[in-house]
Symmetry: C2
Subunit: 506 residues, 2 copies
């Protein structure tokens, strides 16, 4: 992705990330950067690489948990809640090794690149062995992800996640405020395995429960140990195609007293800092009960929300929460296909944007990987809950999936196709029945509201052609690679998923 | 579609529409019907047609307005409501002729077949010339649709739509119940051009306004004239691949006194009868104000709701409405990608199914054409508004897109792959990165929640292979066909859509 050569691309239609669509645009690339963009060139110059269709800045998937891809389809059997889904997810996490994780992440990142994604933010928390002890190489899992990204040809922001406790402590008088059976309240978190024997208790506060056996491999014990390991990861892996940032898993998983340390780590390095925020009502209810605050207010008080911060999901916010995110200059990352899948709800996209909080998008659990669906899903979600059309223009939705995502992941020189910027771009073919009727007066609208991942024809990362005519240049059989990688982290096919739910630490 | 020959298909995996997925299934077809299904045949018999992947009953698109396909992308420019969207739609309707409509519908039906649709319910109301007079052949528009379906290779239920008046009369004291500016209420219907000069007033009731100039071509003048024309259409076009049924456009467009006539026409012929119901809150509010009833209750009182009836959308229902639909043995057709696009809201799918109302799906305005997204969208919509997962199993969602749709369109012998049934089937490839990891324990879940229209590889209608390896057997360049067909019904590209909104009858 850092080729030293020179390439000339000719784009039939080009959206640089700002302004109107240009036509017949010649993009000159030297090494991994754009040196010039000239439009109104009617025919491709000799020796240029033709990009038929609409070329956009490379798509940015700002929130990914690569291994969740193994759950696609499988967690649709039977019913349940976010929390039962999480038990199945933990069972896959429990089977990961540096070796099978590299193979799996390579296949998942390859699927992303085929869908037009040139940069991914990997929210990474499977740090240690299944029993919680470090790998022989304590950075083994992070190195696996970096190698996977390099093989797949995708730019990586590794968000090294602090995950210290197992969740908020359950209320001492369950169901005291409701006549409903606990089992009837799908938003009630099942108290994070309170019956499980504590394995380690890094916190003296009664606010949280310790990590469960299924979670133990996510934790570093103390925030200082997290910071030490994250620093080592940053020093070892940062490079032309890798940024290392930080994440607070959530206010469920990091005690209040440790938030400022993670924030300080990121601020001191001007590194991106992401955090899951208010995805489910239960998090808000527990946070109010135990800490007398919303999650956003808690994060603000401890300096987590600044111009490098991203609140992931941001689904159940108060007006003050929205104002806090705006005052902090933070982003909000919407993951609408996951939020639909996990029954999270529709976040306040309109209020956030109006307050000045830019949006980004992520495929998160990879129920599907299609950033066009993520982008239009922001708009259609608002329409569903408001009875009004036209909240956001196509350009704003496309910016969420390109430049805003890039900036939120620490790539300040990506996301706009202009001289000096990284040469990351994606071409959407107009040949399919989905888009063949797109017209010059509404090309971007046709793409945002009608394109699918299957319409991506060419992907260029750092000047290198990674996908051409829908074929990955390096990975010969992406489907077969995914199949075998996922088989390696699943139980045998005749073992029902309900068994996993009964023993999430298996 | 009515080949007299014999074919043998071997399906790697087969869901017949009921029960578990079968493996290695041999489907024998004579003429247009299945004569036997035998499974556990390890290898394809000599001479058989191999169907690799998962074969399902052909998908059924129970609600389509073919010409709305011309709006895709274009109505995403700017903002607005359902009602401003409708103005743009009218401007396209105004340009239709029997010739350009046949070309357009052929291309749209071809897109559907490529997406795995073997039967479409076309809710057809553009009956006459733009000034409201009949074509020289009064059935010209219906014949255009039937020819288009034959060329595209799709089974057609033509729902001949009764459309007599221009909408509910506006309240005499506008905004009397609200301090809001009318323009701020996106659900407020702009009174269907009350300033437009009445062209015809078939009703003495003050409940409705006459057809506007943009609507005049939809109307037959009287319900008797509609019935006469619909009878002629049914006699002229019914055949092995065409069913002719009826539609009440809506309680906005058919006066109360005429509902029983349309219902009687359908009941006398045991023909399907579809009706747009409660898509927007404004319809309910106007119906309550002027007729003291919900739309569903009105339809029930006049005999519209029976075992041949489908309530299309059914978004804003009362508990009694749900009970009425169940008591009538009617279907509810959800069109979730359109309902997202048009800011309609999320209908009560859970309540309907629990009450015994089976669901069907439709791509309606064709914002996208992907029946997998329609099917999973029913489930994810419920998740978004309920905070709970697992409302419907994959089989029920797939039934909505297959057998329930077929029955609701009058094809009682389609939708299940069993001896005696019509040989309509679709094969979904498992080769793409979207589905390559699908496993035997959750194949149907993988498809319902992960497949897209682009994963359809083979489509068989009445025993004839219409699509093979994603290529339509008869239409050489479906994309180009769509492009030119849509260009023919749009204004020049430099004429902005806002102009159309100012003059919807242009």
């Amino acid at each position: 992705m850092t080729g030293a050569g020179t390439s000339t691309f000719w784009a039939e239609h080009l959206w640089t990330g700002v302004g109107d669509i240009r036509h017949g645009a010649v993009v000159e690339v030297v090494g991994d950067r754009i040196v010039s963009v000239v439009d109104d060139v009617a025919a491709p110059p000799t020796g240029s690489i033709e990009l038929r269709g609409v070329t956009l800045p490379g798509l940015v998937n700002a929130h990914s948990h690569a291994f969740h891809r193994a759950l696609r389809g499988r967690t649709q059997v039977g019913s349940g809640s976010f929390w039962t889904w999480r038990d199945v997810m933990y069972s896959v996490a429990g089977r990961l090794t540096p070796e099978n994780y590299e193979t799996l992440a390579t296949a998942v990142f390859t699927e992303m690149v085929l869908a037009g994604v040139t940069t991914v933010g990997e929210f990474h928390y499977v740090h240690h062995t299944a029993d919680g002890t470090p790998h022989d190489d304590p950075l083994a899992m992070s190195r696996a992800l970096a190698r996977a990204a390099a093989t797949a040809g995708i730019r990586l922001t590794l968000l090294d996640t602090c995950y210290l406790v197992g969740g908020f402590a359950p209320a001492s008088e369950p169901a005291a405020e409701s006549d409903a059976e606990p089992a009837d309240d799908p938003s009630a978190e099942p108290a994070d395995d309170p019956s499980a024997e504590p394995v380690v208790d890094p916190s003296a506060e009664p606010v949280h429960v310790p990590l469960s056996p299924a979670q133990i491999r996510f934790g570093d014990g103390t925030v200082a140990a997290w910071a030490e390991r994250a620093t080592a990861v940053r020093e070892a892996l940062s490079g032309p195609t890798v940024v290392v940032g930080a994440a607070v898993h959530s206010v469920r998983a990091v005690p209040e007293r440790d938030l400022a340390t993670v924030a300080g780590w990121a601020r001191g390095r001007d590194a991106p800092l992401h955090v899951h925020v208010s995805e489910q009502p239960a998090e808000n209810a527990d946070c109010a009960r135990l800490l007398g605050s919303t999650p956003v207010a808690l994060l603000r008080r401890h300096g987590v929300l600044d111009h490098r911060a991203t609140a992931v999901h941001a689904t159940h916010l108060t007006e003050d929460d929205v104002a806090d995110l705006a005052a902090g200059d933070a982003w909000a990352c919407f993951c609408v296909t996951t939020e639909r899948d996990l029954a999270d709800g529709v976040g306040p996209a309109g209020e956030l944007v109006e307050a000045g909080v830019p949006l980004t998008v992520g495929s998160d659990s990879h129920a599907v990987i299609d950033l066009f669906e993520e982008a239009r899903g922001i708009e259609t979600g608002q329409r569903l809950v408001s009875n009004r059309r036209g909240w956001f223009g196509a350009a704003r939705l496309m910016s969420a999936a390109t430049v805003e995502g890039a900036r939120s992941l620490g790539w300040d020189d990506a996301g706009l196709l202009e001289p000096g910027a990284l040469a990351d771009l994606v071409t959407v073919s107009l040949d399919s029945v989905r888009l063949a009727d797109a017209r010059r007066d509404s090309l971007l609208e046709s793409i945002v509201f009608g394109a699918t991942a299957a319409d991506v024809s060419t992907v260029v990362v750092g000047g290198e052609i990674v996908v051409r005519d829908g074929v990955h240049a390096r990975v010969a059989s992406p489907g077969a690679a995914l199949r075998s990688a996922i088989e390696a982290v699943l139980p045998p096919v005749d073992e029902p998923l309900s068994t996993l739910r009964e023993d999430p630490s298996a």
